[in-house]
């Protein structure tokens, strides 16, 4: 990376926004197509009712909620990782922070759709928002779903600001570099930021504070989502381990997705110079660590079920491992606990294709892991006369895929409009590196 001059950095980054290859259009096109598919499936659900899903009594939550939890999970690592790297003053942050934050924002924006899609009367979803009304009736603040509403809206707002804040210097820079319609856009968005020493002082003071706000928020949000389940009294849900378990799972899946996105960007925009094996190595280690945590959590769950000795709970876990969904369960174990072990070897960590394969496994694995614990519990709760089963329908899975398309669509549009790497930050760290190699440059 040392050969990149400051100007080079700027040039390369701007390049990612300038040239639009057919590959980009293909990607965007397919993303939009997926969105269309999802939208159609949802319109059917709206016209006919949720009967088009595989849901039934007792399994009232299925693929849609799974997708919601999954995307919330993915969202987490982005902001979290970026903030943590910031506090550890890691030189790696400059290259990957931006896209990680963007990933966060867009995954939440995706996740946020699913509760609305999932409820029986989507057109009344605003009943859960706090607004003055003639009914004198607001929402129930004892309900974890209400907590969700607040947690997620706060988190998405703060994440957006975090992303935006970090982008201010770049916007200012771009506003002076680019021509055409973008120029006024960036000028307005940059809020007049122009890099005077005074602004830099304020910026460098404000940013840490913000990062400090983001981290606990990120942790809280997934804890809250976990409480959607932990606060019930259902066997297999009602458990104190859920909050940390969800946060860990969130970071786990988030990192996997981050790896995939970065690999994509690196390939697509020839950013090999900036997104280096060192980054992937770091992420791989993190992935491995999280995988170990998850494995531990799985083990804990089963142990607790056995240790607590509640009939219903033991049954849930017995069935999870041996019942209808046993193949899914063991598949999940394979992808989330076994596969990542390979990352102990640096040769695997530094072998991008291998890392990507594992990340894909983990991403898919985490979706099914959410699916498992949601479905197995309600399909197998206290009253055996009510035990049931659940298989998603095609339309249902289309809606889930639609979400994937929605996320990629937003992300692709973003990298077209905004720098996917922090320019000014890269320059700064680049300069720091140069200073380190030529000590006489910066004298006492």
């Amino acid at each position: 990376m040392s050969e990149a001059s400051l100007a080079q950095i700027e040039k390369d980054t701007v390049a990612t926004m300038a040239g639009t290859t057919w590959r980009y259009w293909l990607a965007l096109g397919s993303a939009v197509a997926l969105v269309g598919l999802g939208a159609w499936a949802w319109s059917v659900a709206l016209r006919e009712g949720l009967g088009i899903t595989g849901l039934n009594e007792p399994v009232m939550w299925g693929a849609l909620i799974t997708t919601f939890v999954f995307f919330i999970g993915v969202s987490h690592s982005g902001t979290l990782v970026s903030a943590i790297l910031f506090f550890t003053r890691s030189p790696l942050r400059a290259a990957i922070g931006r896209s990680a934050e963007a990933m966060t924002v867009f995954t939440i924006l995706t996740a946020g759709l699913y509760p609305i899609v999932h409820i029986g009367r989507s057109w009344l979803f605003f009943f859960v928002l706090p607004y003055p009304n003639q009914r004198q009736l607001w929402m129930n603040f004892r309900s974890p779903l209400t907590w969700d509403v607040f947690a997620i809206t706060s988190y998405v707002t703060v994440s957006m600001l975090f992303l935006y804040m970090g982008m201010l210097p770049d916007l200012a820079l771009l506003a002076r570099q680019v021509q055409g319609w973008r120029r006024p856009l960036y000028r307005v968005l940059s809020l007049g930021f122009s890099g005077t020493d005074g602004e830099w002082r304020i910026f460098e003071k404000a940013y840490p504070i913000f990062a400090g706000v983001v981290i606990p928020l990120a942790v809280s949000v997934h804890s809250v989502v976990s409480w959607d389940f932990a606060m019930t009294l259902m066997p297999g849900w009602h458990s104190a381990v859920f909050a940390p378990y969800f946060v860990a799972g969130a970071i786990f899946s988030g990192i996997a997705v981050a790896v995939l996105l970065l690999a994509g960007l690196r390939r697509g925009y020839h950013l090999e110079r900036y997104i280096t094996p060192k980054h992937f190595d770091m992420l791989a280690k993190l992935l491995l660590a999280m995988s170990l945590v998850m494995t531990f959590v799985y083990a804990t769950e089963f142990f607790m079920a056995f240790y607590r000795g509640s009939n219903a709970e033991m049954e849930v876990f017995r069935w999870r491992a041996t019942g209808t969904y046993a193949p899914v369960f063991w598949g999940v174990v394979l992808s989330n606990s076994v596969a990542p072990i390979a990352l102990f070897w640096s040769r695997v960590r530094n072998n991008l294709p291998a890392l990507i394969t594992i990340s894909v496994l983990v991403t898919v694995g985490m979706w099914f892991e959410r699916f498992l614990f949601i479905v197995t519990t309600i399909a197998r709760s206290f009253v055996s006369q009510n035990w049931g089963n659940y298989i998603p329908t095609w339309k249902e899975s289309f809606i889930c895929l639609g979400g994937l398309g929605w996320f990629f669509m937003l992300f692709l549009v973003f990298i077209k409009l905004f720098p996917c790497m922090a320019i000014s930050e890269s320059m700064q760290s680049q300069h720091a590196v140069d200073a380190a190699v030529t000590p006489e440059a910066s004298h006492a």
Binding site: F141, R142, L161, L173, G192, S194, W200, F210, L217
Partner: protein
């Protein structure tokens, strides 16, 4: 239009050296505009509200907390329905939203503070000069108005070759 010296450097380190030597010669009011937070920006003496930022965030956070409490207690009492055998005002349950809003308001206020304070602080530098800044142009300005001649000369010498003409 106050008279001032404007020097442009391609390399952050040169800018840094210039600023340092200016200071050696007693010229302490130099200002730097830079595309990134290079060390040089920390070397010019600085007066600003940056210290207030923390307090703003704190106050913001507390406001959020207060709003959350008011909202939850107020709305829960408005109809006063018993659910799950829990009390109408259930603080344990309200804790979550209180936390979320605290964080939200803290973050938001911090961001606003950033925007406003920077706007205030950047007034000292003319837009024409700020527009020069780019990855290869780090601008060092020394306002000359009200400066004794000795220092003016010193400044001229230091900035020497890097001096640029800025159209008023």
């Amino acid at each position: 239009m106050p008279e001032e010296l404007v020097a442009v450097y391609a390399d952050p380190d040169e800018a840094l050296r210039a600023v340092l030597s200016l200071r050696e010669r007693g010229v302490s009011n130099a200002q730097v505009s830079s595309p990134a937070a290079f060390p040089v920006v920390h070397e010019v003496e600085h007066t600003g509200h940056s210290r207030a930022l923390g307090w703003v965030a704190l106050v913001g956070g507390l406001t959020g907390l207060a709003c959350a409490m008011a909202l939850q207690v107020g709305t829960s009492k408005s109809m006063g329905l018993v659910v799950g055998g829990k009390p109408i005002v259930a603080w344990t349950a309200f804790g979550v939203v209180m936390f979320e809003l605290t964080m939200l308001f803290a973050g938001a206020s911090n961001f606003l503070a950033l925007a406003i304070f920077s706007a205030v602080s950047r007034r000292k530098v003319a837009r024409s000069i700020r527009d020069l800044v780019s990855s290869e142009r780090i601008v060092v300005t020394v306002p000359l108005t009200g400066m004794e001649p000795k220092l003016r000369d010193a400044a001229r010498v230091v900035l020497g070759g890097a001096l640029a003409e800025v159209a008023p």
